[in-house]
Structure formats: structure tokens, C-alpha cells
Amino acid sequence: MKACVSPEPGTEPDAGPPSRSRRARGPRLHPFGLRTRLVLAFLLVAAVGCGTTAALTYRAARNAILEQTQDTAVSAFRDQVDPLVISLPVDTDNLRSVVLSIARQGKPRPWRVYAEYGTVRVSSTDRPTSSVITPELRARAQARQSTPHGSFQRVVKNGTPYLTMAVPAVFRTHVTEGTAQPTGLVFYAVMELDDEEANIEAMVSAARDGALPALAVALIPALIASRGVLRPVRELRHAAHSMGRGRLDTRIHAKGSDELADLARTFNESAAELERSVAELRNAEARARRFASDVSHELRTPLAGMLAVTEVLDEDAGSLDSDTARAVRLISAETGKLAVLVEDLMEISRFDARAAELHTDEVDAADCVRKTLQHRHWTDPEQVVPYLEEGIRARLDPRRFDVVVANLVGNALRHGAAPVTVRLYAEGDELVTEVADRGPGIHPDVLPHVFDRFYKADQARTRSAGSGLGLAITLENVRLHGGTVLAANHPAGGAVFTVRMPL
């Protein structure tokens, strides 16, 4: 923050520790995760397989059972009718005894036998005819066609399946060459299919009882397969997570030749590439930083000598001729500034090298700020107005906190306008230090860069009164405390810097 222009609400610069608040994630539960889907797919395939097989087997078996029963029954029925000798028109009493005799021969199971001729209805039961014999069957049996057929039909009545059969009786019109002519007499037989139904029911329950254990058994390969797929996936996730946390040397054990192994190998290659690139970048950065650090180290020793003698120059300048005196004073003054700059550079280098140490102590925060202001002689209430909440005990590094407050107040005095207010208060478990000035505020374009090193808001201004590192050092010091610093513009005008540090 070198020049403050128009008042605008502020944005937070890159302050505070990187807010990558990743929680350590354990194995999470996905309601429709890969495992669930794999297992479901397996079960589905198993279910479809079992179901289809069972259904097809069942159908085939059922049809076989029914066909067997039907064919046996029809053929047995016909065999019973075949040897009959009748007169036309039929003799009812004779027919009744015939029907009863056929009824006794029921094969494969008992049947009820009916005979119909003209209006004559004869049956082996109490009732002359049966309600399960459908008109279709009758029509088919009585149809006048060149070759009459026996026929059957399955009828379900009141939940009971019946097999109804019709065999029309034909007779030869001539001993040798006669065609078969319908006699008009039709025999019907009705047989219950409850045994077959029981058999079929048994098959259904057998299929079901077989399918459920099969599904349960299918769970095992499903789980094994899903494990086989998920373990590499989980490894990949852990590895990616670990890479994300900066452990670039993470590699996956890639074995096998499947797609997942390919993926793992690709991951490893990418990780190696990434690690190499990052290492290069880091080396370059480290070289740059070491260079800055080395330069300032090298500058420090001659400066130590020079700074020790600036007083001598200042004292004796008065006795020199004016040009020499100006030159000597200039050297003296610039040596002082150079010393500050080098000292700031060294400080920044230490932050970059993570060599900065925090020497915390429990102090009275208000005392701490007051001493900072006193020490810098910022005691004029027209310049700096402190509003300090008394009695806050804070654990901080007094020297670094002094640097923070001094830099912010010094910055406000340099770039803003007096009076500068310094507020100190506790909010929750944070110590808040607020430095506000009455200047024009910070231009929104500048706001994101105020904590940058040597950032020049106004390119025309080549050098500011400070080292150009003051706010960068402030930011680093606050971060070292685990706190944040925020630059913003107050709605009423002026820049506001807010430092929050844990108590």
C-alpha cells in the first residue's frame, strides 16, 4: 500500500495461512457409490440369470407335464371310446352304462364322462352335463369337417384347473371303403389338474428356493469383485489426496495389466513428472531466495562498519565546506536507510526460508501497543489516537507484534492522513488490532496488492519513505502468529487495516 486513492470496500489480500481446511477424511459412505452399484449390478445379473433360467426351465417343465397329462388323457379317453358299439339313435340306458364304464377307466386319473347326442345328455355324475365344458369345445367337437378330431381345453374354474376333452364318435359308412362319418355322438371327459398344479407349484417354490440362495451366493463374488475394483480406486484416492497435501513422492503400487493398473501407471508417471517440475520450480525459487539472502548478508557486514561511523560524518560535516558537507550528510542518511532495507530483506529472507522463530510471551496487549507508540514517539493525540481495551492477556511475540503495529501506524501516517486511530479489542478468542486513517483510502486496483513486496501503487514514485517491505513483513509476522490481516476502506473514508490473531 503505497498510494491510497479512492475509498472502496476492501478485499482480503492473500492474508493468513492458506485456508485449505482439509479435514482428514476417513472412508466415506456413498449411498450409491461404486461398491453399491457393483454389488447391485452383480445381484441384478444373477437375478436375471437365475430368474430367466428358472422361468424358462419352469415353462418347459410345466408344458412337458401338461402335455404329458393331456396327451395321455386324450389318448386314453379315445382308447376307451374306440371299441364301443352303438346304435343310432343311441339307446340312453345303454349309453349310460357305457359312460359309467369309461368313467371307471380314468387314466391317468379319474375323470367325469359325459356323452351328448342330439338332445340326449348322459353323464357319469349326478348332473347331465358339466359347466366347465365350454361352448368352444362343443362347437369344435361337433363341427362337420372332413376329418373329425379329438380336442381338449384347459379351463380354470374357481381357481381349480380342469382338463376338458371331447372325442366325437365316428363310424365307418362302409366295411372297406367307407369314410368316417360323425355319428353325432360326442364324448366329453373332465379331469381335475390339481396334481399337476401341485407339481407345478412345487417347481415354482423350488425355483424360488433355489434362486434366493443363488442370489446370496452371488453376493460373495460381487463383494470380492467390488473389492478388487475398489481397492485400486481407494488407493488412487488416497494417493491423489496425499499428492494434494504436497506429498509429491506418492506412488501407487501398480500391478496387473487391467485398466486400473494402467490408470495407476499413468498416475505414477504424472506424479513423477509433477514432482520433477515442482522440484525444479522449488530449486529455482530456493536459488532466488538464497541469492537475496546472501546478498543481504554480504551487504550487512560493510554496512555495520559504515553505520558505526555515520555519526562521525554527521558531527564533522559542519566543519567541512558546504558541498562536501552535503555529500557527507547524504552518505550518512542513505547508509541508515540502506541498513533498514537490508535488515528488512534479511527478515523477509528468513520468512521465506521458514527460519523465522516465534518467541511468544504472555503480555498485556494494551501495554504492548502503548509501548510501541511511546517508543516511536507517536504520542501526539492529533497524530495517533489509541483506543485500547485494557487487561487483555495475549500470547504473542512482543517484538514481532511491535513490528506489526509500528508498520501499520507508520504506513497510515505516511500514506493516509492524521489522525490515525489504533483500536485494540478482544473478539471471541481473537485479538483484534485495527489501524484506521483519515486519508483517501486505497484504490480498488491496489487493494489486492498492498501486501506485495516493493509494490508501487504509483509507478511515478520510485521510492517511498519505507523500505517497501513493511506491509509484507507485517503480513508474515501476523501469519507466523496464526492470524490474518485485512486491508479495506472504511465507508466513511480512509483505509482500515485489521489484524486478527488468536489470543
Partner: protein
């Protein structure tokens, strides 16, 4: 004016500091190495030793230890900020204060004066000896004895003990002690106090791990007693 022995290997610093201090009236003798400095010690008999920590051959910390073996000469270390570990080792070795390079002569001189102050102005003349437990403190004679045996205390140790015993059972924060004993700013390096307290305890406490005389109040500071 105090006689100052400066041990510093870098010629420009050595010369600059010597020049600055001499201009302010100090009698300055310089040595480029620790060995040369130790040799000059007996002959020059300085009031104070300005000791660079980074020396070729025998380093500053070793010189510091060697000096403390035989004398309670005030020692101020010259160091660069960031050499934190060296500062701690130097303080443990018995240095009374340290100055961060580069420093203006006025800063160096102020520090020298601060370290020498009590020792140059020995009390008000009354030779009242205070007794605190086994400790006998002679404020006028600037001597401390434990169970009748005189203790060799470095200047900063003596000043700290005198400051604490002047108000027994009163708690001093480390910042207060920095301001009053070392004449540092409030925000100075509290490790000075801690190192000094450790050294002092080693000399006056029966069991330094369970201090009786100089007690710590965690989060507040130190106090003398109650016994």
C-alpha cells in the same frame, strides 16, 4: 571513560566501531581473533568486552566461556539478527547482553552504559547487608554470599538479583525486567531474562529445577520468594 575490548574479525566493522566509540571517549582496544582477544585481556584489563560471535578459529561463545571461567567482566555480544541459536548459546555461556549488527554507535554506547551502570554507581554508601534465607546481599558492596560463601555473579545476574530482592514477592513481567535491568525496550528479547534467570538459579538455588529464591509465575513473570 570505560575501557572496551572489541573482538571482531571483520576489519571494517572493527574499525568503524572502534572509531565511533573512541570519538565518544571510550578507550578502545581491538583484536581480530578470539585468541588475540584473550591474550589482550590480561594486559589491557578492559571494563567491558564487545564480542563478535562469528569468529574464525575460536568462536565467540568459546571466548565467552573462557572469560567467565575466571572473571565477571561485563560481556556484550555482537550478533546478526536471525542467528537465534547463537544468541541463546552465548547467553547461556554468560554474556550479559547482545547487540544486533548493524548498529549505530549511539546504540552500542547506550548498551555499554546500561550494562555498566550499576557497577559504576555503587549504591548510596550504606553498607546494609540484607539476608534472604541463606543469601546475604550487600547492596553497597555489590556482593552476594550464599551460606557465607561469596558468589561470583556476572553483572546482569547481580543486577537482576538486586532488582528482584529490592521488592521481594513482587511479580515482574519479563518486559518490565528488560526495561529496568537491561534498559531495553518493552519489546526486547525476553530470552535475555530467561537465560539470566537460569544462570542465576544455577548459582543461588539449592536445586535449580525447584527454585526457591527466584520463582516463575507462568504467564506473568518472576518474583523473589516468598521463602
Amino acid at each position: 571513560m570505560p575501557r572496551v575490548l572489541l573482538i571482531e574479525d571483520d576489519p571494517s566493522v572493527r574499525e568503524g566501531v572502534e572509531l565511533g566509540l573512541r570519538r565518544r571517549g571510550h578507550d578502545v582496544r581491538t583484536a581480530p581473533t578470539g585468541e588475540a582477544g584473550l591474550a589482550a585481556l590480561g594486559e589491557f584489563r578492559p571494563d567491558l568486552l564487545l564480542l563478535d560471535l562469528m569468529l574464525p578459529g575460536m568462536n565467540g561463545v568459546q571466548v565467552c566461556r573462557r572469560v567467565r571461567e575466571s572473571s565477571q567482566l561485563p560481556i556484550i555480544m555482537l550478533t546478526a539478527r536471525g542467528d537465534d541459536f547463537d544468541v541463546v548459546v552465548g547467553l547461556e555461556a554468560g554474556a550479559d547482553d547482545y547487540i544486533v549488527k548493524p548498529a549505530r554507535t549511539e546504540v552500542i554506547e547506550a548498551r555499554i552504559r546500561a550494562v555498566l551502570r550499576r557497577i559504576e554507581e555503587p549504591g548510596t554508601g550504606r553498607s546494609a547487608v540484607e539476608f534472604h534465607g541463606e543469601l546475604a546481599i550487600d547492596r553497597a558492596g555489590l556482593t552476594v554470599a550464599k551460606a557465607g560463601e561469596r558468589l561470583a555473579l556476572a553483572p546482569s545476574e547481580l543486577k537482576l538479583l538486586l532488582h528482584l530482592t529490592a521488592a521481594p514477592e513482587q511479580v515482574f513481567s519479563r518486559q518490565q525486567l528488560l526495561e529496568h535491568v537491561w534498559e531495553h525496550s518493552y519489546h526486547g528479547d525476553a530470552r535475555l531474562v530467561d537465560a539470566c534467570v537460569r544462570r542465576l538459579r544455577n548459582k543461588i538455588e539449592d536445586t535449580p529445577g525447584e527454585p526457591r529464591y527466584i520463582q516463575t509465575l507462568r504467564g506473568f513473570g518472576y518474583r523473589f520468594g516468598p521463602l
